[in-house]
């Protein structure tokens, strides 16, 4: 584990540090001003990363924090204006408003496919702002954080966050090492008030569950996994032993439904509500906010292998990532429904 950690940190430092020029994840060379003080996140994924790494450098949010999220966000950042998204597709940002905010740099965190690379190129041409595209895949998180640390001029902070990510991955790998296939938990992700929307294997929506050692019962048939609707009969046939939901309506109503009661997860009281304050634990957005979700799910699925107290872990994570000190009452609110044997509020 320490060997892995050392290796990863070595990799982080190996990112080229040529002054003023940065090669982003698509291989484009971007000229970045010497001092980057004002940064715009192109979309919600990037906004979480930017808030974690350098809240003092944010010029705004793609979509402003909602009232129930504000208390967990630093005062200086939570009142920043809403600027919309600027990723080259489905944009809501007004380019003139963006230019008026005078960012030194724009970056997005997510897919680095040729489509997104060309979209980034177009935005850069139109706005004249350096636009970095950072690889947002879960397994590339540590390296991507390193690259951003260089680009934003905050290598120390990026290293501290990356270290937490690498440690989490190492903890998972160690804990799951000799887990026999037969002991793996079968998990269903329930979305929407009726619980019948789910993410297929390999989708960005269930990635965390799979990385934490769970088997996603909704196996994709072909192509890339995405969001799909399923019938309750299919869920009964899959017989998942654990259900993770992030819909409070579903969490409040499934117990009174006789059909859901035939699902083993419901019969064994293994239905958990994914926290989403201030950012989601397994998705919403699919960014580095999900790192805590890895530890949470691993602990839910295999408590013997991951005995750590998730409340303590959550508090540490929120302090390190979001710079917020949460008290017991706030933690209760964040984690309502997320723990086994908990009194329902």
């Amino acid at each position: 584990m320490h060997y892995l950690l050392g290796l990863a940190l070595l990799l982080l430092q190996a990112v080229p540090l040529e002054a003023g020029e940065i090669k982003d994840a698509t291989g484009r060379t971007i000229v970045v001003p010497g001092r980057v003080e004002r940064v715009m996140a192109a979309g919600p994924n990037a906004a979480v990363v930017l808030y974690v790494l350098a809240p003092q450098k944010m010029v705004g949010w793609p979509s402003a924090p909602r009232p129930n999220e504000r208390e967990f966000i630093l005062p200086a950042a939570r009142d920043l204006p809403e600027l919309g998204r600027l990723t080259g597709r489905g944009d809501t940002a007004n380019v003139e408003v963006i230019l008026k905010a005078k960012p030194d740099l724009v970056f997005d965190f997510g897919s680095v496919s040729p489509t997104y690379a060309s979209l980034a190129e177009r935005v850069q041409e139109q706005t004249g702002l350096p636009y970095l595209l950072i690889d947002g895949r879960l397994e590339r998180t540590a390296a991507s954080l390193g690259m951003l640390g260089t680009a934003l001029g905050i290598p120390e902070r990026a290293r501290a966050i990356a270290r937490y990510v690498v440690e989490t991955e190492a903890t998972l790998d160690t804990g799951l090492q000799d887990l026999p296939e037969s002991a793996r938990r079968r998990v269903y992700l329930a979305r929407q008030p009726n619980g019948l929307e789910t993410g297929l294997t390999g989708s960005i929506n269930t990635e965390i569950i799979e990385r934490a050692g769970g088997i996603n019962v909704a196996q994709r048939a072909a192509g890339r996994g995405g969001i799909a609707n399923v019938s309750i009969e299919q869920v009964v046939a899959w017989a998942p032993d654990t259900i993770i939901t992030w819909d409070a309506n579903f969490f409040a109503s499934y117990a009174s439904d006789p059909v859901w009661a035939t699902v083993p997860a419901v019969a064994n009281k293994r239905v958990y509500l994914a926290p989403r304050l201030p950012f989601g634990w397994i998705d919403a957005p699919p960014s580095i906010n999900r790192i805590i979700g890895l530890r949470w799910i691993a602990g839910l699925l295999y408590p013997d292998r991951f005995p750590e107290d998730i409340r303590t872990t959550a508090r540490t994570f929120i302090k390190l990532f979001y710079q917020a000190d949460v008290d017991e009452a706030q933690l209760d609110r964040i984690m309502a429904g997320a723990q086994p044997g908990e009194r329902r509020r």
Partner: protein
């Protein structure tokens, strides 16, 4: 002749019903089926098995809902086509489905529970048509029908724009996919309780259509002829629109937007039994029920995930409809 066609359609519906009940991802044993049948006639076989619950609480409500939705959409389409004397009219011509869609997406945006989403869809479906009707009355054009249809197009476009606006405001991770799926139609979430509410509403819409079937049939001759035969045309028009809208709005609230059925099924029925509304209505409703059942059975068995109904009705319906048209039979008048 037409009697035998209707009898044939009844038999077809029964066959499709049995087929739809028999297939699904959960394997049913003969015992499950017998025990479930026993429970239906009042023999309590002890605590229910999963198979029994699947059959009684999942498949039966869903199969019944599919038949109900198909029959209601086809019936409403038949009423509209006869009323407007136009084969291109579908139940959505006055904006009921678009309005219901708007209600549902607003419900999803507000994170309402399922009942709230369905209720809003139903109310806005009815509300949209009421608005269209009031506008057409206020405008008082020469051609009442034209003004009515144009108002429907305008209000429908407005509701469509509002749906797009809601999509922009919606949470992209959570609400946007739900909105997309809802607008494509699905019966995956139908419960027994939904049927208890929707079936009476559909029936309430159907009763006036059946009771007034002769007069509605006379409407197809033209307003002047109908008036000459002593039919109060404006009043009848309100009744037909209200009844067809009620039927459509109540099923759309549980199924989401499903296109094609209301347009295509009345045509096919007309090819079978002719334009007489008296025979057309039952034929179209039986045919609509069977078609919807087949489509929904495909939707839940093609893959482990649900295929949206709107996609299937179009993919299956469009070529079939073209083929029928290519056969070149005169279908109207």
């Amino acid at each position: 002749m037409t009697r035998s066609v209707i009898a044939l359609l009844l038999v077809a519906l029964a066959a499709v019903l049995v087929l739809a009940l028999a297939v699904g991802p959960f394997p049913l044993s003969a015992t499950d089926v017998l025990r479930a049948a026993g429970r239906l006639v009042g023999i309590d076989g002890g605590s229910a098995t999963s198979g029994e619950i699947v059959l009684l609480r999942v498949r039966m409500p869903r199969v019944a809902a599919a038949a109900l939705v198909g029959a209601a959409l086809a019936g409403a389409g038949t009423a509209y086509q006869t009323l407007f004397r136009n084969p291109l009219v579908s139940p959505d011509i006055l904006g009921v489905a678009t309005g219901a869609g708007l209600g549902a997406v607003v419900g999803i945006l507000l994170s309402l529970p399922v009942v709230g989403i369905q209720g809003l869809a139903f109310l806005l479906g009815l509300g949209t048509v009421a608005l269209v009707y009031l506008i057409s009355v206020a405008l008082r054009g020469h051609d009442r029908t034209l003004v009515l249809v144009l108002s429907g197009v305008v209000v429908g476009a407005l509701a469509g724009a509002c749906i797009s606006l809601v999509k922009i405001l919606a949470d992209p991770y959570d609400q946007l996919p739900a909105i997309t799926f809802w607008l494509l139609g699905s019966l995956a979430g139908v419960k027994l309780g939904d049927l208890g509410v929707v079936a009476p509403l559909v029936l309430a819409g159907l009763v006036p259509l059946v009771a007034l079937r002769w007069r509605i049939g006379v409407l197809s001759l033209g307003d002047d002829e109908a008036r000459a035969l002593g039919v109060d045309v404006p009043r009848l028009r309100i009744v037909v629109i209200a009844a067809a809208t009620l039927m459509t709005a109540s099923v759309v609230a549980i199924s989401g937007v499903i296109g094609w059925i209301g347009l295509m099924i009345p045509h096919i029925a007309r090819m079978m039994v002719g334009p007489n509304f008296n025979r057309l209505l039952p034929a179209a409703m039986l045919l609509g029920a069977s078609f919807m059942l087949l489509v929904d059975t495909l939707a839940r068995t093609l893959a482990r995930i649900e295929t949206p109904l709107g996609i299937l009705t179009a993919v299956l319906g469009a070529p079939f409809f073209l083929w029928l048209l290519a056969r070149g039979r005169k279908t109207w008048g």
